[in-house]
Subunit: 471 residues, 3 copies
Amino acid sequence: MSQPLTSLSGHTTPILTLPDAAQDIYDGVRDMPIISPHGHCNPRWFAENPAFADPAELLIIPDHYILRMLYSQGVALEDLGIGVPPEKRDARAIFRIFANHWHKFRGTPSDAWFATTMARTFGITATLNAENADTFFDKIDAELKAARLRPQALLEEFNIEVLATTDNALDDLSHHKAARKQKLSGKIIPTFRPDSILDPKHPDFKADIVKLAEVTGQETESFGGYLEALRDRRAYFMAYGATATDHAVADLMTCYLTEKRAAALYAKACSGKITPKEAQVFYGHMLTEMAQMSAEDGLVMQIHAGSKRNTNSALYNKFGAHKGADMPVQVNWVEGMDALLNRVGNERDMNILLFTLDESAYARELAPMAGHWPALRLGPPWWFHDSANGIARYLDQVVETAGYWNLAGFNDDTRALMSIPARHDMWRRGVSLHLAQQRGRGILGRSDVDEIAQLLCRDLAIDAYKLGKVV
Amino acid sequence: MSQPLTSLSGHTTPILTLPDAAQDIYDGVRDMPIISPHGHCNPRWFAENPAFADPAELLIIPDHYILRMLYSQGVALEDLGIGVPPEKRDARAIFRIFANHWHKFRGTPSDAWFATTMARTFGITATLNAENADTFFDKIDAELKAARLRPQALLEEFNIEVLATTDNALDDLSHHKAARKQKLSGKIIPTFRPDSILDPKHPDFKADIVKLAEVTGQETESFGGYLEALRDRRAYFMAYGATATDHAVADLMTCYLTEKRAAALYAKACSGKITPKEAQVFYGHMLTEMAQMSAEDGLVMQIHAGSKRNTNSALYNKFGAHKGADMPVQVNWVEGMDALLNRVGNERDMNILLFTLDESAYARELAPMAGHWPALRLGPPWWFHDSANGIARYLDQVVETAGYWNLAGFNDDTRALMSIPARHDMWRRGVSLHLAQQRGRGILGRSDVDEIAQLLCRDLAIDAYKLGKVV
Amino acid sequence: MSQPLTSLSGHTTPILTLPDAAQDIYDGVRDMPIISPHGHCNPRWFAENPAFADPAELLIIPDHYILRMLYSQGVALEDLGIGVPPEKRDARAIFRIFANHWHKFRGTPSDAWFATTMARTFGITATLNAENADTFFDKIDAELKAARLRPQALLEEFNIEVLATTDNALDDLSHHKAARKQKLSGKIIPTFRPDSILDPKHPDFKADIVKLAEVTGQETESFGGYLEALRDRRAYFMAYGATATDHAVADLMTCYLTEKRAAALYAKACSGKITPKEAQVFYGHMLTEMAQMSAEDGLVMQIHAGSKRNTNSALYNKFGAHKGADMPVQVNWVEGMDALLNRVGNERDMNILLFTLDESAYARELAPMAGHWPALRLGPPWWFHDSANGIARYLDQVVETAGYWNLAGFNDDTRALMSIPARHDMWRRGVSLHLAQQRGRGILGRSDVDEIAQLLCRDLAIDAYKLGKVV
């Protein structure tokens, strides 16, 4: 506890410094308000404004980027408090393990996000290591009790204009209701996530179809009633401010069945007698149905495709999902979106946002598709790719074919509230580096780069997510 | 109509400016004559020397890069004159729509091509926008009537040594015949494009096989007669200067069948009773036959593979092909070329040029293949990738494995005559940037970069397309 | 023969010169000892210390990078001495052909490796060409007779701490035994390469299973005896210093069968009656068995996947394997490694090193996998990709997700002893360029880059290959 954390012995935490031309652009966007149209924060935070328990719960336990790297380096998840009841966790011990291995994050986005968070929010500019672990822990822990680090205050401190959570389609949105009664400096809105009631392979499918009937008052035994119930739920979410849906798809496939065939598969799915192949077909059809409902009700449709979930069976059986063993797989976007786009892709007032984990699809499929279909826009680099070099590769590979106006700006996609400014900051620096390079080569002029920087850091997200009335 | 277009209010159209080391290389190739060995200009232009009708017909209607981007941004194709008879089009109204959306092309190659064309050919350096649209239109329209902007004069102004068109295999080449009688400053030659008489899936296959018999005087009812007719047509094209064939393949597959099997499939194809799978096999065999004929008659074989055509059914039904809905798909080049290369790939006097829309194949498949098979060369970045960053990625990913001498230089592949110098200029700048970087890192010396710049901008195209006797 | 080779007429061989920031890092690693944990040198060289016969045998005939490029440019392999008995080869004539075409290697790693070797080992800084070919030949030829260019002396001159060869699993390691009796300045160790006794598709499978029984004294008629024999052989290799196995897999697939099913397939394989599909399943199972044996005995497991061998039938029939016609193909690493990793991937003391020829897998599959599974590490850029730009792409695409500590450093993978320092030098320059860029953008600090440079150039290889007790 004696080390001063604002200086350091010959070694400061690196935070991206930019070449002059990029810095010049960055200065114009650095302090813009934050639009966070897709992420996984807990709406309860904004309804109830609790304090975070301790540094381990704040920074380590919910961060799958950190868990995965530590696990890959031989740290047992139990030693990080995973699968351990909160009351039995030793937060300080967990933080020490984290600190002992911190150097192994060098060069990863986690390193930059943590450094930015420590510097901006806690005033700590030293680099975490085994020696100063306790000093870090104590300083963070002490600050966490302060009112300024509670969720509602952070919303203001971070200058977040709008933040969308991601919510189960059956959710009663009670936290959102409660949050709306608070005086918040930014808007908190839900996002409609219906995977468990669309995909017969989802472990909760059968139970959730029953619940769907309960919460909507619709009968869900017939396919027609099921569709009505889905429409009800979408309207319910919209009433609480939702502007978008979100869909996770491992193996992307869309199709459009006759109503009779769809109804037959639905009956099979409800009875649990559907084959895996039929289940995929049914989900493929339902994605197209969702797109058609979006064409009607205006909800923006997000598709996150190509993550194979839970590839480590032993880990999944012991600790459950989201522990770092989800792996990217290839997606054939042209074939996979064919049926859906041929139903609604020519709609001009509809936005479908695509997210990939396969960078080889940026230039080959996604940019050409977004540069043609009126309804399509490209989501920003996702998951493993929202890093300094990942952002550079994304912009390098998409803008020449799709242009800037077919992009959806940035979203942080995080469940770590504290890291939101750091993640947007990395995007803003990445955008500035990209635009400086484009200008240096004469591809863009001075007024262009400033305009496009604003677009990429704010306006495109508002436009793509139809947040014009929210902000 | 009062805005002066040679200056501008605080904003000039960006045209690639280069760092000093690249500029130095660029100065040596900037004004070299143009070799255009593959493209889609209309040979009638050079035979009859017509004036272009108006700015919309010149710059917008035939350019699928422009149509696709405007369509993706919600512009209706009808409003751009597509599907509208020429006499009912309002060229000025079309040009205004184009101008209103022009900023959405920022950062795309269309932006650079247009700016280069306006500056070099029309002396206009202002950036097009809603306010100056009419001034642009009037100035371009007035110039179009001048003799200096007719095709034959442009050929000279652009310093084009040779320009290859792409012609249906059944074409009588009458425009080429007529063009040969004109005093042209550069050579116009045809390219043999036999897709419709090789691929049973082609909508014109059956009709074109009948026509093939008519134009050659061969019977095409037997497989042997069909092959003879193909040889006839190749010889006919060669008599008018053709040095190459061109083949479009969606799903690349080649094979080599027994003559009996090939003949049986041919009979099925002619009767219209061939299955899609058999049709693919037959086309795969015929590509190998074409390669063998090339080994005999010396025509260079171009293979453009991996474009899924007309993915937007509604648009295709309404407006037909080439409206921006063709999408890249993956190609397995190693498997796909296996049979063909094992027939003729070891030929030393044969050139087979491969073009891909999948950049992930550059380093994985194409460079290793070109760096082994004597008959193979890599074509330049195709379609979505002939942009500043696309050129950089291509050179970065192919030269270390294939070397420079297994490349085919550049071709513009355009149907827009006016844009040819701009497209070659982008390649020359891209080459200069690449070589300057290679020199800066000590990979190439000063004399190397100048020599390789000449190669990439002229000599390799001449060698790859066997144009030594033409230029 | 009169040209002085240490100067040149206006043209020096380029050897990577580095920008200041990179040079600064490079100075710290340039002269580090060499760790060569995977390669294909002949162990006889170190046991018997023969002189190399002549410049052609030293530099051309064994180098498939050089053969493939010359072949692609129309040189007949016979003219390079391939398929010609050594006593009938004209080394000088071969060298002249090589020199005549040398400019075609500009920009390839062969160019840099050759230049580095000539400069450092022979003091020649001129660029090879048709005019100075004989002077080069004579100078190299004369030097080859000197004691300082014999293998044992080179080991010392090159400052190689440890060099692993790759040896057939049935090898008696007699050269290794003999080498251990020499006073060598570095350690020579074998690597266990059991492809021919694991893969029923291998042409030597049946014969080698019989030999396996002979050399181990185990009966290999039963599956249990076969597994015992494999364990015996692994132990034998470990007794002579082996720390790793190596596996080549064209189409990666792993599985885990019941013992009964595995035994049945083994019986079929031994009888030669196994189908290709069953053979793949059996090999997939045996890779998992190898991984389990590694979990027990500690041998590091290397998997080189995705090379389709001998794609040029005519060349293979005439000259055999390794003549430049092996081509990369795509590998699905997530699916392909699934069964194996779910058996042993959570082991903390085990190292499995993956090598790919498909760069699109770096960021999509390999970095996420290495950043999760404790047993996995990423091998360095392989084969076509161990070049200046290839190294840059590798580091750019893997470190943000996998971090540096999940990498396996560098290995040269060469059968060309003379080129080893040049190959490590290219890696060290590439690492320095990468780290300088990371530092310039503020992602890494000064002390970070020096530490990570040491890691990447030495420590990670020692750790990944468990060479801690060897060096």
